[in-house]
């Protein structure tokens, strides 16, 4: 858990590396000022990042807990705070509090299973934490398929260990796709939902699905057609949050708080929630 004195009091963290992943996505590496990680987390958990005077928001922790040196956040530029974060440099400090929320059941329900990761756009960021956790505990899991798509070549977040190293490993397939044909792209062209249907994936596998709501909707429909079970399809939800601990009243869907009861949900659980997200 966090070394914070109170769950609402953050710790200062230092940006120790910045990777420009796409024109609007940067990955920030964050360390404690004295070195090392600010806190431990599990795959799928989130943390609040704040630039004092600008704002604070919840981001998924994209690095795996098996990384013992630092934590990473992949952040898409889309609002006031994320614009400001994109303007920061290595050596600048932010405040961090967390980790918040539940996590993917890597030590229980996912263990020993064939896993299919399906991501669209920045949706790969929360899944990267699990993917690398599985990589570092490879013997504990079955076959792994990774399907990842973006609008264009430029918008593919190319985490090197996933798109390069993972693709070469045994019992592992990495499928990349972009929405429209583009010069210099020899890979698959088409939207993620239709690509998923073409791939003839194992319907008994467990699916971890993250991306824009519209993509999730169509991928889910496709998976159900192919015979996948909602009981074995996980996703993460995102709503506006202030506290991170289910008290500020902002991120509820029915009686569930996304910050505390989520962000990871099975589709069987989502079916129980009112349609308000």
């Amino acid at each position: 858990m966090c070394k914070c004195s109170d769950t609402l009091i953050p710790l200062p963290g230092v940006i120790t590396a910045i990777t420009e992943e796409t024109p609007d996505v940067k990955t920030f590496r964050i360390n404690a000022p004295e070195g090392g990680k600010l806190f431990e987390h599990m795959p799928g958990q989130c943390a609040m990042l704040c630039v004092p005077g600008v704002g604070e928001a919840m981001f998924s922790i994209t690095s795996s807990p098996t990384n013992k040196e630092y934590q990473e956040f992949s952040i898409k530029r889309c609002g006031e705070l994320t614009n400001c974060l994109h303007g920061l440099s290595v050596g600048d400090m932010v405040t961090v509090r967390g980790p918040y929320g539940n996590h993917f059941p890597v030590e229980s329900e996912l263990k020993g299973k064939d896993l299919i990761f399906i991501a669209g756009g920045i949706g790969l960021a929360p899944l990267r934490s699990v993917i690398n956790y599985v990589a570092d505990n490879r013997a504990d899991y079955g076959n792994v398929d990774i399907v990842y798509g973006s609008r264009s070549m430029d918008d593919l977040v190319r985490y090197q260990e996933i798109t390069e190293e993972w693709a070469k490993r045994e019992r592992t397939n990495v499928y990349l796709t972009i929405d429209r044909p583009q010069d210099g792209w020899n890979g698959h062209v088409g939207f993620v939902p239709s690509y998923v249907k073409e791939l003839n994936l194992n319907a008994a596998a467990t699916v971890l699905l993250c991306g824009p709501p519209i993509m999730i909707k169509f991928v889910l429909a496709g998976l159900l057609e192919l015979g996948f079970s909602k009981e074995r399809i996980y996703t993460t939800l995102e709503l506006r949050m202030k506290c991170g601990v289910g008290k500020c009243g902002r991120c509820n869907i029915g009686s569930k708080y996304v910050c505390k009861d989520g962000p990871v949900f099975k589709f069987t659980q989502i079916d129980e929630l009112p349609d308000e997200f």
Binding site: M93, V94, K242
Partner: protein, 389 residues
Amino acid sequence: MLKISTDRINELMDAIASKMDLILPVENNGQVNFGIYESGVRVRLDALKTVKSAKDAFFPQSETLYSCSKDLKNLSVTPAKLMDRPFAVFGMKGCDIRGLEVLDRVFLSDPVDGFYKARRENGIVIGMVCNTPWESCFCKAFGVDCTEPGGDATACVVGDGLFIEANNEKGKAFLEMISEVLISETLADNCIMRDTVETVSKDGTEKTALEDDKEQSVSKDGTEKTADADDMEKLRAHKESIRRITEKLPLMSLSLKGWGTETPKDRFDSPLWEKLYKPCLACGTCTFVCPTCQCYDIKDHDDGDSVRRYRCWDSCMYSDFTLMAHGNPRTSQMQRFRQRFMHKLVYYPQNNDGIFSCTGCGRCIDKCPQSLNIVKVIKAFEKEGKENV
């Protein structure tokens, strides 16, 4: 039990204030709200309802969480000091004390909110029996007895006497401390301190009885005075008469059948919400006067060299409450209106052993500029249920 003549209430308040901060109903610009007791304030213990509930005393409308330097090369975080000295909140009614219990389940559940906890631990709640419940009151519907408001101690005005009885160790220590001040200030000629103890009679039924040999009646000249058994009877009769008035109030019989954990699944999708929300102006008044609304925002205040991060009350009735860079899950006022009532009557009970997040204080009835309120919502669904049978 402490008894003091009502014409000496200010002396009692001075005695409390000599020991700790005292928060109680005071009148300002024609409005009565809980405020600090200081010289010149107009104490209004007689007012039934303060405009806002007493939740400010434990969950202030705004409070600093920490301050932070603005130098991004050298950031440091200084947490705000937690409440560390005792204070008394005098005159909370049963509905507002129930409100605190509702807030406790939010703020004291894991992970505990340290700021709220520090206030709860240091705050001494002196409840007060309602003498004149209004037509807009419906606390009884939520199981609140306004003649037994609870708190660490309970006060009641009967005739020309103010009685204060301790409900727990914290209240007992408080009363003992205050009595000492009153006695040493020789203000105690009308002050009687008396212990009541729980006894179990031979047939096993519990009853509260006076423990005669522990009476500590003290008068001005220091001689012991016999405790007045008549006072106990007067108090009992007074509470009984209030209960009878309460039972006749129009909203007290409000039925909560079909809400809480037994709410039908299709309640969320009912077309009734669309009809009910229309007059709502999204002003948020209902949430600000409510003793249980706990939604908050966390914001920055720029002090120049540093930034103070503070939290302040927010309202689910506001359009930007759930607004994100990539969209808003509640784009219409109907959705926001529905959220507020579903939270109080369905979601909160689902998460809290069936307990409702409404205490029947009736402030939303008194204050909504459009005459919308929780009673209207409950009755509309009750009516619809009957028509559909």
